[in-house]
């Protein structure tokens, strides 16, 4: 048997190289994570939360976080579970065992998407170049997450802080999403005093 060291390549590696940082709005690639999709009957939700270590939020469009793990509500029977610094196969096996007697589905999607963050006071405005949602804190508070779209790509958008959003994007769409946001923030890159009209 040949043992080769296979390196995981992030789809944003090339496009994010030399990304200009700006106090008004910056983009960053988030670390690779173990990601599982959990779907199941209501009776299995509690057990899934226990197995994962974060109670699954049952309020629509909210995520919950504990000890570096996040559970995102994606639909009434669908959650995205994310854990940084964990081997996804191991997480999958332990959870599968604990959920064996439950009516549910667990699928490893760790490589399906890559994640990025957009931060800074102009984040809402820059995101609104492609995302049609009202991103004001009134409508999209910290702790909210949802599938939505950005330009011509589906994304999972979440607000982790007042001026920080995370985007989880299917791999083949992620360079597009990055470039789209990077283009939209042009007006703030070279002019520190530029402000969004809103």
């Amino acid at each position: 048997m040949v043992e080769a060291t296979i390196v995981r390549v992030n789809s944003l590696a090339a496009v994010s190289r030399d990304s200009a940082s700006s106090p008004q709005v910056s983009l960053a690639v988030l670390p690779d994570a173990a990601k599982l999709v959990f779907r199941g009957r209501p009776s299995s939700i509690g057990a899934a939360g226990e197995a994962f270590g974060v109670e699954l939020p049952q309020t629509a469009n909210r995520f919950r976080e504990a000890a570096g793990r996040k559970a995102y509500w994606l639909g009434p029977d669908e959650w995205l579970l994310e854990a940084i610094g964990v081997d996804s196969s191991e997480l999958f096996s332990t959870m599968s065992e604990k959920l064996a007697s439950h009516s549910c589905s667990l699928v490893d999607v760790s490589h399906r998407s890559d994640s990025m963050a957009i931060r800074g006071p102009m984040s809402e405005y820059v995101l609104n170049h492609g995302c049609p949602l009202d991103l004001s804190e009134r409508a999209f508070p910290v702790g909210m997450c949802t599938r939505t779209i950005l330009g011509k790509s589906p994304i999972v958008l979440s607000r982790t802080e007042q001026e920080v959003f995370h985007l989880d994007v299917w791999r083949s769409f992620s360079p597009y999403v990055w470039s789209f946001l990077d283009e939209a923030r042009q007006e703030f890159l070279h002019d520190q005093s530029a402000r969004s009209p809103t």
């Binding site: 390549v9 009957r41 490589h111 399906r112 492609g130 004001s136 011509k152 083949s172 002019d191 009209p197």
Partner: protein, 998 residues
């Protein structure tokens, strides 16, 4: 600047600017528009009319301008045609040119059209350019396009940046004139989030040209400044200047186009040239104002003939005198105000002709007191002057007859027929309009969306009333949002009322209208005569009159002409105007650039370009790519000097003789999990799944409910309750959506859940007799021997140290594997396999070779052999139908008699009698090529390639009753003549399938 006043106006005399118009250098000031700067230089002639090439001047001071359309931009990549000079803010170095003239503006050869105008009546396109039909393309159309046209489209790609942004607010106020500003104040003070947009560079609307009115004890200008200050200071208010609300879309969604850097000339920042706002407003206040109507009188289109309010604007806002001696023609009071203000600035007022028989009131008294010659019951009977008006004939009308005309010298003629409320956006929102007899205008009636109109756009013209109306509208919007509205405010306003008089149609002309031309639609060159002709020829509906005469169909959409056209139809048909109806308003309110509509969606960002994790390797190794839905797929890998055919021959040969490697990552993948997974698969696919053992693969066929093939793919049973389903590349989203549909809406009792894993797995196909030898040393925990891993099986384990789902499957007919690894490892594993395959001459191949290899085996491609009208049996897949299953999607439809007719088109192979001819895909198949055209077509070629393995051409085709024709000969007509083909079984290579095991 001969006509510039030494003081006054809102221009900045400390900032002189220079610009070019038609190659001539002029100067102006910051704050000017191109129109005001031209007028300051005494230049009124700015264009030639659309059809007759008549000299035309600046008629208005805003968005309603029909004549002064110019092209702006010194570089081709920044050139914009058809801009209204009245809306172009002047900047230093601006270069503008007139349009629709040759060789020059003052000497235009097509002006001859004007001499022959009686041969170009309404509908002349339809009447004249009828026959022969062939002349249209070669003769008529190019001629019409050259002679009658607007500006030219720039030939270079647009160099500027355009963006789009979604906005959300509680109250959107459209228009920042007095009513809009009052509404904004009321909403802002109520604490809700307010957007205010206005198309001009400064907010204020009519207040920007106001001289004598006072509001709350201040001059209008001071009140305006204070109001803007207050709005700016509030964090809940967004003020958008230079922003046109051009369209209303359902559910309070409005399109706004903000011209961000146009007024700067050069893009000196990374700001976009234009920004398209798509705003969802919980409540909307429309304060869009009103447009002054021209009067329809003979030769009313000469340069120097201008709207009365426009003249006021040039005087008061820009400090420009639009002429030195003016005749005024009016049907309402406001023109008296214009006359008085111009007179006080030094313009001689020759006379005021008032179409009303007994004008009275304060304004008329003031005009008489100022010594102006006011003539009631008087019309303009004609005008003179080639490139600028020089004289006007005034004639008294009494008892329907026109008196003897009296000629007045003038270089300016002001006209006003009253005001037409701008109900464009209201009407676009599908609100119902009602006709106001008194005002001779359509006003907003019942709202359909969450919106209210305030001020002049609903016929409230007087300043005090307009402010009060606006403020009340702002409060009502705030209240509708459920919050607490701000305190009421009573404006104390001093301003002379302008009354509500107005006129639509053509004023009395003493029966001379047949011989003279009075323009109704200036931009499309439609005269009163044209409209009368249309009604005489039987057109009754205003929509038909519009299309026949083209009135209201120009780029200004009839802002100044629609009501007069309606009035003339009403006059000629003797129908009340309210019964004539009004044409439909459509977006955009003013022409909007393609750049703004495209926004960021251009170049690299036009569409997402989906690439697999192996894409970069393919690129570095010379792959030529093809688009498959949004994916880029390696089409073939040419070596130096190879064309596609040479590369494909080499790739095919290598794969059949040793081993090839292919990126199959784009295949759709769905993980179907749950205790009812097999039952769900039974219902979705034609095949039977219950007995498929874990660790085995099966080729699955999916139908639509109508019984036709929708998708196919290999499915692996990973465990009793888990299936790894693959779909076609293009069908991935569609298949998942259909599955979810049934699961959510029909079979919610099933314990099964779907998760898309398309992008979780990179898929590396390793195909050919040496495939096993290449993979064997790389896998860990998997026995890939023939005994342990037969054709159509799957095992989980590791390859090169990363997890894999290894499929033993073949789409080539050779011994084959498909290595699924987590996507991020795709390239690493590919490179490792490639390295391990070196000793066997492993050859990367692309989609073209994949197609050839599968066609040699007669494997279908959904979307190529199928087209949505093909049953499984049609393409030889009857074996894939689980006959014992009671039901599956599409089963009932297969039982319809038409689905089993023997003359259905069936998949067959075609071999050309001349083996060197490769048929065209899509070519028709006929039985008898001697039949006259159109021949009876009995089928078509679906796939056609050069087969390296057979050293000849091969083709697949769908042919009526095809299977019964096997062994017979048919014909495929191509341009060079019919090609004789032999009908054969749709499998050309290794029919026994011996090679699958290597």
């Amino acid at each position: 600047m001969r006509y510039r006043l030494p003081a006054g106006g809102r221009i900045d005399r400390s900032k002189p600017l220079s610009f070019h118009f038609d190659g001539k250098k002029y100067s102006g000031f910051a704050g000017d528009t191109l129109a005001s700067a031209l007028i300051a230089n005494g230049a009124h002639l700015v264009g030639r009319s659309f059809k007759y090439h008549r000299p035309r001047g600046i008629m208005s001071a805003g968005a309603d301008e029909p004549n002064a359309l110019v092209g702006v931009g010194s570089e081709e990549a920044r050139y914009t045609p058809n801009l209204r000079a009245t809306q172009i803010e002047l900047y230093n170095g601006l270069v503008a040119e007139s349009q629709n003239r040759w060789p020059s503006l003052s000497l235009d050869f097509s002006g001859a059209n004007d001499l022959f105008s009686r041969f170009l009546p309404a509908g002349f396109y339809y009447k004249t350019f009828m026959w022969p039909a062939s002349a249209w393309k070669k003769l008529y159309e190019p001629m019409i396009r050259r002679a009658a046209g607007l500006g030219r489209a720039p030939e270079a790609a647009d160099a500027d940046r355009y963006t789009q942004v979604y906005g959300h607010c509680d109250v959107l106020v459209v228009g920042a004139g007095p009513a809009g500003l009052a509404a904004a104040l009321a909403a802002a003070r109520s604490g809700v989030k307010v957007f205010v947009c206005d198309e001009q560079d400064q907010m204020g609307g009519s207040l920007l040209s106001e001289r004598e009115a006072t509001i709350d004890g201040q001059g209008a200008a001071d009140w305006l400044a204070q109001t803007i200050r207050e709005l700016k200071s509030r964090t809940n208010v967004v003020l958008l200047r230079r922003t046109t609300a051009f369209g209303w879309y359902p559910h309070n969604f409005l399109g706004l186009c903000e011209r961000v850097t146009d007024h700067l000339g050069l893009a000196i920042t990374k700001q976009p040239r234009e920004r398209m706002w798509q705003v969802r407003a919980r409540e909307v206040v429309l304060a869009t104002g009103a447009i002054e109507r021209p009067l329809v009188f003979p030769d009313n289109d000469r340069p120097g003939i201008m709207m009365a309010e426009a003249a006021r604007t040039y005087l008061n806002r820009y400090g420009v005198l639009p002429g030195s001696r003016a005749v005024v023609f009016t049907a309402c009071d406001s023109a008296y105000r214009a006359a008085l203000e111009l007179k006080s600035a030094g313009v001689e007022i020759a006379a005021i002709a008032d179409v009303r028989s007994a004008p009275n009131g304060r304004w008329m008294e003031r005009a008489r007191a100022a010594g102006i010659d006011v003539r009631p019951s008087t019309v303009i009977a004609g005008t003179y002057g080639r490139l600028r008006i020089s004289h006007a004939d005034l004639a008294r009308i009494s008892g329907g007859t026109m008196g003897h005309p009296e000629t007045f010298a003038c270089d300016l003629l002001l006209m006003s027929a009253g005001f037409t409320p701008s109900v464009h956006l209201f009407s676009q929102s599908r609100g119902k309009l009602v006709y106001d007899e008194d005002l001779k205008a359509y006003l907003p009636g019942t709202s359909v969306e969450r919106e209210r109109s305030v001020g002049a756009c609903r016929g409230v013209f007087d300043l005090g009333a307009s402010l009060a109306d606006g403020f009340a509208g702002g409060l009502s919007a705030a209240k509708a949002l459920g919050g607490t509205a701000a305190a009421e405010h009573k404006f104390s306003v001093f301003a002379q009322s302008l009354g509500r008089d107005g006129f639509i149609g053509a004023p009395p002309s003493g029966g001379k209208s047949r011989r003279t031309r009075a323009w109704v639609d200036f931009q499309n060159d439609v005269t009163a005569k044209d409209i009368e002709l249309a009604t005489r020829e039987g057109f009754r509906s205003i929509e038909h009159v519009k299309r026949y005469t083209t009135t209201g169909m120009a780029t200004d959409q009839g802002k100044t002409s629609n009501m007069n056209a309606l009035g003339i139809v009403s006059q000629t048909l003797a129908l009340p105007a309210s019964q004539v109806g009004l044409t439909t308003f459509r977006p955009p309110y003013t022409p909007t650039t393609f750049g703004a509509f495209a926004g960021q969606s251009r170049g690299e960002l036009f569409d997402p370009v989906r690439k697999t994790s192996i894409h970069e390797w393919a690129r570095e190794n010379g792959a030529v790519f093809e688009d498959v839905s949004l994916w880029k797929r390696a089409h073939y890998f040419p070596r130096p000097g190879e064309d596609m055919h040479a590369a494909v021959r080499r790739e095919c040969k290598a794969t059949r003789e040793s081993v090839g490697i292919f990126d199959a990552t784009t295949l759709g993948k769905i993980e179907v999990v749950g205790k009812d997974a097999a039952e769900f698969m039974n219902r979705m696919y034609t095949n039977a799944w219950t007995k498929l053992e874990p660790g085995r693969l099966r080729y699955g066929v999916m139908l639509r409910e109508d019984g036709f093939v929708m998708d196919d793919g290999v499915v692996g049973r990973m465990s009793p309750d888990r299936f790894h389903v693959t779909t076609t590349t293009g069908g991935a989203a569609r298949v998942l959506a259909l599955m979810e549909d049934y699961l959510q809406t029909e079979w919610s009792d099933l314990d099964v859940w779907l998760t898309s894993t398309t992008e979780q797995w990179a898929v590396i196909a390793v195909q050919g007799p040496n495939a096993r030898k290449v993979l064997e040393p790389l896998v860990h925990g998997i026995d890939i021997s023939q005994q342990a891993m037969p054709h159509m099986s799957v095992q989980e384990g590791h390859i090169c140290g990363v997890p894999t789902r290894l499929f033993r499957v073949s789409f080539t007919g050779e011994l084959g594997f498909e290595v699924n690894v987590p996507m991020g490892y795709g390239r690493g594993v590919w490179e490792a396999i490639y390295a391990a395959g070196r000793e066997f001459g492993i050859t990367p191949y692309g989609t073209e070779t994949m197609h050839v290899l599968r066609a040699e085996k007669g494997y279908i491609i959904v979307g190529q052999e199928t087209d949505g009208t093909v049953t499984p049996d049609d393409v030889g897949l009857a074996w894939a139908i689980g006959k014992a299953k009671k039901d599956f999607v599409g089963k009932r439809s297969l039982a319809r008699p038409a689905m089993s007719r023997s003359d259905r088109k069936q998949l067959v192979g075609l071999l050309t009698v001349d083996p060197n001819i490769v048929l065209e895909e899509g070519a028709q198949v006929v039985a008898d090529p001697s039949e006259p055209v159109p021949m009876t077509m009995i089928g078509h070629v679906t796939s056609s390639y050069w087969s390296v393995a057979l050293d000849r051409s091969i083709a697949l085709a769908l042919v009526q009753g095809g299977r019964a024709r096997i062994g017979s000969r048919l014909s495929v007509p191509i341009p060079s003549g019919p090609v004789t083909v032999e009908v054969v079984q749709p499998i050309f290579y290794d029919p026994e399938g011996k090679r699958l095991d290597g």
